[in-house]
Amino acid sequence: MSNEIISFFNTFLSTSQSEAMATFVGIFFLINFVIIIVAFMTLLERRLLGRLQNRIGPNRTGPNGLLQPFADVIKLLTKEDIVIPAADRWPFNIAPLLALMPALSVWIVIPFAPTWILADLDIGILFVIAITGVSVIGVFMSGWASANKFALLGSMRSVASIISYEVPMILAIIAVVLLVGSMSMQQIVLFQSIPLVLVQPASFVIFLLAIVAELNRSPFDIVEAESEIIAGYHTEYTGMKFATFFLAEYTAALAWSAVVVTLFLSGWRIPFVQADIHPFIDGLVFLIKTIFVFCIFVWFRGTWPRLRIDQILGFSWKVLFPIATLNLVITAIEVLVFNDVFAVAEGETLPTIALVAMGLINIAIFIVVGIALNKFIKPIDQEPQSYPVTREGMTL
């Protein structure tokens, strides 16, 4: 695909120029494609939430409400752009872009099909982790620059939760990387003769929960907890800047869904079908899987209340982190043993039968650990930590 584009530009440009042009064309198409998909994802989320809540959802704009995203964009574009006088102008204006940029950059390494990948980096998954870590800076900048206490609280919460959840998330990813033996996203997909969710269930659950927290979606949506801190870090944003934050959030949600699909749900491969059929079909399969994962986030959002910040951080450090470490150790041992047992040569990967066996062992461990943990979890502390009622403490 990219070769054809390069040869097209080669007819009137030099080789290096045409390569640059081909990259530009790739990025242009990718960004537009992603943003259009994301626009429809917002509609999908609203319709789905509507149905979960026993109502219809937006369906008046265009057939089945399909024009709703465009109506939203037009509304946001025509809104007044307010920068409050007390705001720190530069960070205030840059922050939305800083939040959007990493979410879009993730798509560079996402393999849509065997040949449809903008840059098959050797360190693909590392790139994803690194680049998404930047988004927190945008969030924090906006919270700081807004001169609003709710925004400040929201951005502080965001930093705390993202730092905490990156640890179990990375540990879960390392388990996968250890198994695959490569950080390249395309290699990870090619490795998955059976979806890795069956081989690494613990990693999958930890990773899913960690990205829900990373994305600030329910039940970990403390950053934008509407009932507590109004809209969190983007309380003071209006018009297109707000829309940029909104876009960043949904692009990130979709990007992480794509990463989940790549890592655990065998990417563009149709499960149990070995050959890649056609790039279009592979791309479609990938998109359907991604949207399915996104729908799981919506489902969580439509059902669960949110946790408190200390509970969220405690959940990360006390539950997810130990399980992720344990999982990593078990995976390391398994990889070592299985490589020996199946006599895997240097540069080769484990055969499918080995993965099946590993999966069975892991699922068994997962269930046993789950039951064991259940014994240790005490019911919620019901003893009242009573606060004395004193008149002195109050400014009544």
Binding site: L49, I222, S227, E228, W304, P305, Q382, V389
Partner: protein, 367 residues
């Protein structure tokens, strides 16, 4: 090196998504922990008590609809009972039964809203709220059948009620009473056993029984603190002494107990409604009272167990067609007094939950 920090002053409200109206809470916070709290009320003052002095006794009924807009029937009843006490009117039995049915329906609707918004404050994206709105909608349909309005009923009249039951009401009510337990079970399944809600709500917003009594807290909030006090049993009015029902009581007085007590009260109200449907007698629904009532000079206080707590009216009459003074003892206002003591020391996220669990309606607070 000691950090030079200072507490944040945060104005939660008057325009905040979870203040259920216009209520302002001045919080002094150390990070996210509340050090001091001061409720500021009065943003919704509409002068109902003063307006009552300019209205005839019948016209005041329309004012009471707007105190606690989620339970207009209960407000009607509390007011009407006070005037009846003042002017010594005997209410026909059928009217009393219909009053009980409508007030209990109102209690279910009000508790639906209280729970829905509580879970919404806990952060669920409106899903339980939407389910509870659906049940409330059915109740409002029933009440619309009775009196033609959905929120501002003005259904009660001095000496009875304005309309007798329409023919299709009792079958529709029977359908509702049959269906509703299934929905409450569904809430149970969705919410009561949910670990997230338990983690969030248990042990937070504590109100001990002693404090609750000292602050004058009433209604489900008092019962959640472990005090078995319900005017329907303690000081029966209308025909409540003829029904069998339990009073659910909580143990700890935390947010979860306040949630649980309300959920159980919905079941008890259904019991009362189905008993009342069986026992309802025939006859008149309105005593012979003129449109312009002239109670004798004097004063009267009467209170009922409204969904939010004791709702009392104190009326002083000088013998004319309008009262000389009408004082409303609104439960939300008095329950709110305990809020500051409940939230000091907790986190910001629990402030809104505690506030939501008190089930405050600002129209009633500021009157």
């Amino acid at each position: 090196m000691p950090l030079n920090t200072e507490p944040i002053l945060l104005n939660l409200g008057p325009h905040h998504p979870s203040t259920h109206g216009v209520f302002r809470l001045r919080l002094i916070m150390d990070g996210e922990i509340i050090e001091d709290a001061e409720p500021v009320m009065g943003y919704m003052h509409r002068g109902s008590e003063k307006l009552a002095e300019e209205r005839t006794y019948t016209q005041i009924i329309t004012l009471t609809d707007r105190l606690d807009w989620l339970s207009g029937m209960s407000n009607n009843l509390a007011y009407v009972r006070t005037v009846e006490k003042l002017s010594d009117v005997e209410v026909p039995e059928r009217a009393q039964y219909i009053r009980v049915i409508s007030v209990e329906l109102m209690r279910i609707a009000s508790h639906c809203m209280a729970l829905g918004f509580l879970i919404n404050d806990l952060g669920a994206f409106a899903t339980p709220l939407m389910y509870m709105f659906r049940e409330r909608e059915k109740i409002l349909d029933l009440l619309e059948m009775l009196c033609g309005a959905r929120i501002t009923f003005s259904y009660m009249r001095i000496g009875g009620i304005s309309h007798d039951l329409p023919e299709e009401f009792l079958p529709a009510l029977r359908d509702f009473v049959d269906q509703m337990p299934k929905h409450i079970d569904e809430y149970d399944e969705l919410l009561t056993k949910n670990e997230i809600i338990q983690t969030r709500a248990k042990g937070q917003g504590l109100l001990s029984a002693q404090n609750a009594v000292d602050f004058g807290v009433t209604g489900p909030n008092l019962r959640a603190s472990g005090v078995k006090w319900d005017l329907r049993k303690s000081d029966p009015y209308e025909v409540y002494d003829r029904f069998e029902f339990d009073i659910p009581v909580g143990d700890h007085g935390d947010n979860y107990d306040r949630y649980w007590v309300r959920l159980q009260e919905m079941r008890e109200s259904l019991k009362i409604i189905s008993q009342a449907m069986e026992q309802i007698p025939g006859g008149l629904t309105r005593a012979n009272v003129p449109f312009f009532v002239h109670p004798p000079a004097g004063e009267a206080y009467s209170h009922i167990e409204a969904p939010k707590g004791h709702l009392g009216f104190y009326i002083v009459s000088d013998g004319t067609i309008s009262p000389w003074r009408c004082k409303i003892r609104s439960p939300s206002f008095i329950n709110l007094g305990a809020l500051a003591s409940m939230i000091i020391g907790s986190k910001l996220a629990d402030v809104v939950v505690t506030f939501g669990s008190l089930d405050t309606i600002l129209g009633e607070v500021d009157r």
